[in-house]
């Protein structure tokens, strides 16, 4: 069945022209408010200032640090992809019990701020060894980041595995053993997904700021942050950032097709004829692996934070709650507004991307590039551009935080929505065109209602990511603005461990609560829509 590969933009009349103008206005505003600050910041530093001094500072120490960061990010990429492959296989290709439950629950680490797991594991090592020196190291950063990003690998690889046509596997099984089929047919077929998993996790790990900063481990992002915030050496910070961005873009380019299509960011795609296996001899081992992973990545950190928070009674928890109380409304409302805008722009970008015109598709690429820029660097770019008197209404208000969130997470909304649109048969829109239905009715009464579940899920993901965002927000938050992750992070340096654990536990719980509320509110509705659209 043909999907909507393009929309006949010649059909229609004035309303269509008006709609196209609206699309371009949104694209233009995105470029002006989010794209241009990045270009401006890099352009100003690289072309206007005398950079000779800054270049001299790019010495062996900088390159040594870069090398260490590359090793760290590669290790996280390999470990996460390895475990993600095992989890992806167990959850998407076998008939183990409670697969649906594990598929959702194991994604939780991806949706909570990375520093929460860092705090929990530091507490755990302190409990075991009486000090936290083992975890406050590159080993600790690799371990925590691997636990956070393995669910992403699981999602990417699981999606690819479930899209292999069963006939390909069955033809191979007629000739060779199951093990041989896995290694010679299945894994080679999902090679793009394996590479994508490594590339994305590498980029996220090398861009991560909060975990190394919390463990006191010096990496490239913390160095950029120090140069910018402590030494005010903006030139060097930007040059270091350029190196990091160049690495990310080269890696993105290598796997651009698969990453740009992002088939793993798709709601309700069931795969074509997915074959499930009964791993009779390894069923218990597989089930045990899932349970152990659940304990390590979610249950244990939660129990540790809980135990640490209430070790000395309720005192720390109450203090933490009072400290965080003023941040709840602010954090939730900012994340809510940002998520609404992200979904709106994501829809426009998705609608652009399904048209066979290069200029339309470029919007999606702009979103991908901004998504891939390390959070700290993105924050620096926005702050440098908006820190001018004429932009006071943005710089000194929460608007700058919303701009930060929107730029960072619109790519995810756009990808989810465009993949949903691509699944709709071409004929559904063409019938409407022939019946003379206006472009606005086609969108509001046909297209949007059909993809409504995806729009809700895009909103939830943008909301949860925005709620926990730290790397960009820490550069952007105006004085006096109370936001959950910032409050926790700024207190971490000097507060007693029990207070830090309590605050982290509260943030963890609020995030889980929000996910649960959205899940229970929207799940029946999403299920109903899926059954109608099937």
């Amino acid at each position: 069945m043909d999907s909507i590969k393009h929309i006949n933009i010649k059909n229609g009349s004035n309303s269509l022209l008006g709609f196209n103008s609206l699309l371009f206005v949104i694209y233009g505003l995105f470029i002006i408010f989010i794209g241009f600050p990045i270009i401006y910041t890099f352009g100003t530093v690289l072309f206007e200032n005398d950079l000779s001094n800054s270049f001299k500072l790019l010495n062996n120490a900088t390159f040594s640090l870069l090398f260490k960061s590359l090793i760290l990010a590669s290790s996280v990429g390999i470990i996460s992809t390895f475990f993600g492959t095992i989890l992806g296989f167990l959850l998407y290709k076998t008939n183990l019990k409670f697969r649906s439950f594990f598929k959702i629950v194991l994604l939780i680490p991806l949706f909570i701020s990375p520093y929460i797991l860092a705090v929990a594991w530091k507490d755990f090592f302190f409990f075991l060894f009486g000090n936290s020196s083992i975890i406050s190291s590159y080993f600790g950063v690799i371990m925590v980041l691997s636990l956070i990003f393995t669910p992403l690998a699981m999602l990417i690889i699981g999606s690819a595995l479930s899209n292999i046509n069963s006939q390909i596997e069955e033809s191979a099984l007629m000739l060779v053993s199951f093990k041989k089929m896995v290694f010679s047919i299945m894994l080679p077929l999902i090679k793009p997904a394996l590479i994508t998993s490594f590339v994305l996790i590498f980029i996220f790990s090398i861009s991560e700021f909060s975990v190394p900063a919390f463990f006191g481990v010096k990496v490239f992002t913390t160095e950029i942050f120090t140069q910018f915030s402590a030494f005010y050496n903006h030139g060097l910070a930007i040059i270091q950032s350029t190196l990091l961005i160049a690495i990310c873009i080269i890696l993105l380019y290598a796997e651009r097709k698969y990453i740009a299509d992002a088939p793993f960011l798709s709601v309700g795609s069931k795969g074509t004829n997915n074959k499930m296996y009964d791993i009779i001899n390894y069923r218990k081992l597989g089930q045990l692996f899932l349970i152990v992973w659940l304990i390590i990545s979610i249950v244990l950190p939660f129990i540790i934070l809980f135990a640490q928070s209430f070790k000395g009674g309720m005192h720390s928890f109450i203090k933490a709650f009072n400290l965080l109380l003023p941040t709840f409304t602010n954090s939730i409302s900012l994340a809510f507004v940002a998520a609404v805008i992200s979904v709106f722009i994501g829809f426009i970008a998705a609608y652009f991307s399904i048209r066979p015109v290069r200029v339309y598709k470029s919007f999606e690429w702009v979103l991908l590039l901004i998504f891939a820029i390390p959070s700290t660097i993105y924050g620096i770019s926005l702050i440098k551009f908006y820190n001018q008197p004429e932009f006071g209404f943005i710089y000194s208000t929460s608007t700058i935080i919303i701009i930060g969130y929107v730029g960072k997470y619109t790519f995810i909304s756009a990808k989810l929505i465009s993949n949903a649109i691509k699944q709709i048969p071409n004929s559904i829109d063409e019938v409407s065109q022939i019946q003379g239905i206006s472009i606005f009715s086609r969108l509001s009464k046909i297209l949007i209602p059909i993809i409504l579940p995806t729009i809700f899920i895009a909103f939830i993901i943008s909301f949860i990511f925005s709620l926990g965002e730290l790397g960009t927000t820490i550069k952007l938050y105006p004085p006096g603005t109370e936001i959950m992750p910032i409050k926790v992070f700024t207190i971490m340096a000097n507060a007693p461990q029990a207070l830090i654990s309590s605050m982290t536990l509260i943030v963890f719980s609020v995030t889980l609560l929000m996910i649960s509320i959205f899940y229970f509110m929207l799940n029946p509705f999403i299920k109903k829509y899926h059954s109608i659209n099937d």
């Binding site: 059909n11 004929s427 063409e430 019946q435 059909i450």
Partner: protein, 236 residues
């Protein structure tokens, strides 16, 4: 009369119609017959306005719809109905709303009466509150046809609409289609790759091969054609 003159059309640099000339008489049921990739569906898409021909012109009753690489009259203004192979029923609308939606958007009067008449004619009144996924294959076909006819088109284009049905159901729907022409005062262009289907309903058959017309004429003329390709095609 529908007239296609010197039409060229391509997809991604692959020429699918080459210098095609075709005249289709009014109030006839014309079957475009041919194997996959012969250009049958492309002709429907060009007549409907969903595609614009690279060159050549398309006229209906003397009005030029498309000429010199431009659609002069847009798809929405051609008063044409189109039944797609996958039907394209709107999954989130009930049967009633699928049929009524076009009228609602046109702010037509007596919508309920018109829709009920249509549901009655096709014998699907008892299905009006159901969603497409709750219907059988045959019922879905009838809803798609009813949805197209409710706007009173002059021409109905059908792109292999019965390809997913079993033989018994196919016969039943073919009977419906044969009667549509008189009942709704229509010209029908019906695309199929199955010559048995074409022979069962067509007034006129156009047999296509690789973007060109191999033969055209009545069922009897096609059956008795000496064209080698026609003989080869009808063997299978």
């Amino acid at each position: 009369m529908i007239s296609l003159d010197k039409i060229n059309h391509s997809y991604d640099d692959k020429l699918v119609l080459e210098n095609l000339c075709l005249n289709i008489d009014d109030k006839q049921l014309t079957c475009l017959l041919g194997s996959s990739g012969s250009g049958k569906t492309t002709i429907l898409r060009l007549i409907s306005g969903l595609e614009t021909p690279l060159s050549g012109s398309i006229d209906i009753d003397g009005n030029t719809l498309a000429k010199d690489g431009k659609n002069i009259i847009q798809a929405s203004e051609r008063n044409i109905g189109f039944i797609f192979q996958d039907l394209g029923l709107w999954p989130h609308f009930t049967v009633y709303k699928n049929i009524a939606f076009g009228l609602m958007e046109q702010k037509s009067s007596d919508i309920e009466m018109k829709v009920m008449d249509m549901l009655d004619y096709f014998g699907i009144k008892d299905q009006m509150h159901k969603y497409p996924h709750q219907l059988s294959g045959g019922q879905k076909q009838l809803v798609a046809i009813a949805r197209s006819l409710i706007l009173k088109p002059k021409i109905l284009l059908m792109d292999e609409p019965l390809s997913n049905l079993d033989v018994k159901l196919k016969r039943k729907i073919l009977d419906y289609i044969k009667n549509l022409k008189q009942k709704f005062d229509l010209s029908i262009i019906y695309v199929t790759h199955d010559h048995r289907e074409a022979f069962a309903i067509a007034d006129e058959i156009v047999l296509m091969n690789n973007g060109k017309i191999e033969e055209s004429g009545s069922v009897e003329q096609i059956k008795s054609s000496n064209n080698e390709y026609v003989k080869y095609f009808l063997e299978y």
